[in-house]
Symmetry: C2
Subunit: 345 residues, 2 copies
């Protein structure tokens, strides 16, 4: 915050190279536009212009070498084609499925992301949500805060132990691996579903997510949101998970068929859910609001004071490196797509 406040007083530096922003990253709404400020470049804000985007891009086509985007700001092939000097796209997210990476690769445009900055925070949140759903932390807190302990006596039973549970991780990328490490310490048995078996890990691999769900007490969704993973978790997987099963999603909303999930939760066809992400954020299905077996957070699983400061350094550092002809801090290897890391900002 100190950095942002300090930079607000600086005069416009019009000789600095431009970084195009199509849509403001969420960090702007919290920290202000100067969160990613640097003395080595300046922002060109398409979203503040009254011009249609294509016209805006044509106007500035010669001066744009770099784009800053976030998970909610698509960088399409059409956009890229309008920018002949574009050499870099930096995204504040770990996932890059909102960027047309094929077009970037074809053009030789570098892409840099948040790297694994958010992985440990996401993993912590996943474990926090799992503990909350099984041990009813939020519900018990509500019980005490409403004065029910002294008036109605002992809290209703139903807490389930975490140790010994079979936990299935969908997407064993950097986040999923961190989740697994933590849950091993709680004596959970870990299995996973991923594009392919990972020879270096000791966990049981299921090539099919239904088969994984059949063999698990809890499913933790850590995969990227892609065409392949859209509604990957639907009725069949939820039925396979069963009435004692718990589902945690800290990846992306569309990976779960939300309507099916809501029905399963209402009918108690699964035990509970911990959800950080939803299909139509910030809208949450109203049916979930009153359910005690659902714990929710507003897509902030990845988001701590410390990780956002790390993000600021990484984003600014990537642009500064680029404009100084230095190697990028967190380049994304475009030959190895898609990436199974989901968290975003």
């Amino acid at each position: 915050m100190a950095v942002a406040a300090e930079n607000q007083s600086q005069p416009p530096q019009n000789d600095l190279p431009y970084v195009l922003i199509l849509k403001p990253p969420a960090a702007f709404s919290i920290f202000g536009d100067h969160f990613f400020h640097s003395p080595k470049f300046q922002f060109l804000k398409a979203f503040e212009s009254p011009l249609p985007l294509s016209q805006f891009l044509l106007t500035h086509a010669q001066s744009v070498q770099a784009i800053l985007t976030s998970a909610s700001g698509s960088v399409t092939a059409d956009t890229i084609r309008l920018l002949p000097h574009l050499d870099l796209v930096v995204t504040t997210s770990q996932g890059i499925n909102h960027i047309d990476c094929s077009e970037c690769r074809r053009r030789g445009i570098a892409v840099a992301g948040a790297g694994t900055i958010f992985s440990t925070d996401c993993a912590d949140s996943a474990v926090g949500l799992l503990l909350d759903v099984l041990r009813k932390v939020s519900a018990a807190n509500r019980y005490v805060k409403q004065g029910l302990w002294s008036s109605q006596g002992n809290y209703p039973l139903g807490n389930k132990v975490l140790g010994g549970k079979q936990v299935g991780i969908v997407g064993l990328g950097s986040i999923g691996t961190e989740v697994a490490k933590r849950l091993e310490a709680f004596r959970c048995s870990i299995s996973y579903n991923s594009r392919s078996k990972k020879p270096s890990v000791p966990y049981t691999f299921y090539p099919n997510v239904v088969e994984l769900a059949v063999n698990c007490d809890a499913l933790i969704i850590c995969c990227a949101s892609t065409d392949e993973t859209h509604h990957l978790i639907g009725k069949e997987v939820l039925s396979a998970l069963g009435k004692d099963g718990v589902i945690i999603n800290i990846a992306r909303g569309p990976i779960i068929d939300e309507k099916e999930l809501v029905q399963c939760l209402i009918k108690r066809e699964i035990r509970g859910a911990g959800l950080d992400v939803f299909e139509h954020e910030p809208d949450v299905p109203v049916e979930l609001l009153a359910l005690d077996n659902v714990v929710m957070s507003p897509h902030n699983a990845f988001c701590t004071t410390e990780s956002l400061e790390e993000l600021r350094k990484t984003v600014v550092g990537n642009f500064e490196a680029f404009f100084s002809n230095e190697p990028l801090l967190t380049p994304v290897p475009l030959d190895d797509l898609p990436h199974l890391s989901a968290c975003s900002w």
Copy 2:
């Protein structure tokens, strides 16, 4: 539950040996009196008699060989002296500070407890509360459930990362050790205060709890409640912990000076607290009910469906072993007191 329901239909078996119960264990209020039922003994319930306790004990002095108690039911030297044939006290708790163990040792009365049944559940809860306070799981859940995400936008920042935090454990018994193991997986640095340095653990030892607090971001109370630990955590320790510090208590309420803690939380002299236990349960200081930096649970950190079933087996198993002249399942070695394990029921 099936076991309890089944046994309710059994007729009284008056030729069975008696197990005296002075005060009903909490399990009775949830599962009914038959939770610990066995075909090998029957309960003698002092708490159902209109007689004064001493008179009740005198009446049954010749027939009582064993007592079932819980953390809230003291077994004093006076009681023990009225029971010349008493040979066994079984408590549903892990802690045994409510039993006069000196008198038991003197008389050669065996004591059996819950062993380490509750250690992992307590440790899970401690981590759950710590994650909740740092990452605001309950508060974020409330935010979403109140519809504030869609109406007021992104959740206010302030979540703190868990990784890299210095966590101090007060009382490195079975629960504290389980907490430490879990937090290592979250990349926390562990230090501890205990009666003595434990040569077998790699964590930093502080002989003084104030010194531990000075060097920690979070304190987790896992020690037994004894005369020595009464109000161990007072103003001095809380000040040493400081305004970014977090305190978690899953041990016993009286270990913390609750009035001082409430003041520190109100004045934000510490960052937050996760409290499963309180000085005057089930009463909770009203000042805490509205504080967003406090997460509470109703003394159920230890309490899962699975651990209570394990408790039932252990309690019944100890009595059945005793009445069959077999070795106890979970004898407490009375030569090695006090024990640094706190959770109870």
